[in-house]
Amino acid sequence: RDQVQVAGSSTVLPYASIVAEAFGENFDFPTPVVESGGSSAGLKRFCEGVGENTIDVANASRKIKDKEIKACAEAGVTDIIEVRIGYDGIVFASDINGSGFEYTPTDWFLALSNEILVDGKMVANPNKTWADVNANFPAQALQAFIPGTKHGTREVFEDKVILAGCEATGAFDVLLAAAEGATDKAKHKAAEKACISLRTDGVSVDIDGDYTETLARIESNKDGIGVFGLAFYENNTDKLQVATMSGIVPSTESIATGEYPVSRPLFFYVKKAHIGVIPGLKEYAEFFIADEIAGEDGPLAEYGLVSDPELADTQTAVADEAVLGSNM
């Protein structure tokens, strides 16, 4: 095998492909193969063992889990280099010709949660239009296209929007008080679970496909509001208008500074044992996070990646081949 073999997250895929293409053009090594298939599947293959018939790099739109590190170690994949490449912004957008929105997490909680707090009691969500949710909004039917449960974005959406809304409306406290459980922790968990259980009457539609599917749904139902990646939105500004969250317009800058709350870090993981064995592996890893690629003016940022303010640290870590567990 001559080429670097990469697999994993479909969120990271566009960035990885931009890098791989440039890498192939500028180095004598062949263009790396970047497979998609999801973070989980990528890490799974990554942890299958070391050797030429396994992949060298796993892309992930989340941090590798402890359980996975353990599974890796059992298969002989011990030294893993973790590389954070930047952040993925998550935005809410609706049809370009429809009305615009300025959301707070509370709005989303009130719109989608299975039960909401009314007069101190949790009742089945009665809201039918956005006007029911927030008097400032138009009386547009509620229809949200949110990431399906397979997507990591869903977790971010639940944590940073729904749960935040749940707490803000006070529903969380009510739920916590009512929650059953042996320990505080268990109660907390039960309350969180209740917060994030979404209504199933068709108002909230899980999208298991990609953002293109979300876009297609909005095109066929103009009332719909969808959840997108920032990069996707930026390429489709002719069809979508973005909503603000707590008053902040999402952009690479506002996310990088942390003003815009909904985002998640993106990573890739390198099998240290393959460095030196697979030609070009280390060069690829270094190239990925080089300033001219992943820096603020690099092509990745141009495409929509929120570049990592701590990129320099990452660069040294990669240069030193610092493995997981040694420096974190």
């Binding site: 989980s40 599974a71 002989g76 399906g148 969180e192 539609v205 095109e219 030609p279």
Partner: protein, 490 residues
Amino acid sequence: MPLSWLVLLVLALATAGYFVGRIRVLKLAGGDVRALHSLPIYYGTNVALSTAVPALVVVMVWLLVQPTLIERSVSGMIAPEMIPEGSNLNLVMSDVRRVADGLNTAIAGGAMSLAEVEAMDATVVDVRARLGELGVALGQNVRPEVLAAAKSYRSAAVTGNTLRTLIVLALAVVGFGISFSKTKPDYRARNVVERAVLALLMAAASLAILTTVGIVLSMLFETINFFGLHNWRDFFFGTTWAPNFRGDSELSILPLLWGTLYISFIALLVAVPIGLFAAIYLSEYAGPKTRAIAKPLLEILAGIPTIVYGLFALLTVGPLLVNMFGQSGSLGLGWMSGATSVLTAGIVMGIMLIPFVSSLSDDIINAVPQTMRDGSLGLGATPSETIRQVVIPAALPGIVGAILLAASRAIGETMIVVMGAGAIAKFSANPFESMTTITTRIVSQLTGDGDFASPETLVAFALGLSLFVLTLGLNVLALYIVRKYREQYE
């Protein structure tokens, strides 16, 4: 000798054997074919098979075994302490192989002589640079022990290959010789060749069993893991499907099963009548020209990528249905709220499945002998009566096969369901609601973002295996029904 040459040589020998066998037996029979037990081609084929088959089998076994053997002997040269931190023997060995390959390339290309290679010393020469010049990319500088191992790897491989060449050629020649000497007019060459062919046919049939074993094995392990993490009662008898990143998800197969059956049922409701009527029209009513054109056209439907159908469901059929059955729809019924529904996916999937039913059934119906039709028409039956009561029953096993194939495809379809039916698992009899299927859940849990050792991901395997068992049951049922109603014409 390179492998391809060896194989070609064996094949050439076999070809020669074919002609020699033919010629010899004819000569022995004094040119009189009638004096032979079998046709000359069988004698030829016998010699060819005896020459090629054992030799090629050995080549195959050799290819599987030699690397393991060499690897084992060479890896002894790499002491454990020489393996760099974090690496393992496996990786070092792949480096060794790469260097050995590089050396071979160098020798083959004439860039280095054998002696030069043998004399090369990694402490003196920069092997990586040297090989780099020859176009062999190495990831790292070559350490002396690796070079040494590579050299012995190379020489072992060369010896092995020589041995392989000799043994294989010897086998081929022996096979040739034995079968040649057996080639006499009263030798039952046909029987021998036919037995060999039968063995091949059996091997082909048993591949299906192997595949099944493979499928079960490749999923069983993870399924067991899943049931170690998740309650099996909840999986089989629970009523909710709600995976969750926080853990303790409810993962029950039942709502998915319901969706699977419901959507497949609607798909078949569309595909079977349309497909069957299309088949009937094509084979019984349409002229040869119409048939020659319409049938291949319909077959294109089976080849349009499912993503197109998915988009078609999402953008065309879904909104159309909403326009009819939705709140402000033309029928004013308000039954349907979103474009995605069981009905949307079912209809679109049904369209995709039309050719599965139509083309296969058409062939089978066409194969029913004309005398059957004549018999019925002669009694004053209309063509449609003939078709319904004589032709279709006679063609039933094939038609059921076609329908089963369509059903199978419906069960296995993902894209159309994802885009057309939505991703919500629920129990509902309302075809205007979103639902989802086992297959789509397998795909999405497998390609999702969850922890790969978590029940949310592993459930994919349990779903796959359960579906496997389930369809097995359905197939047994179908077999039983076909057996019962089969009509055999003469």
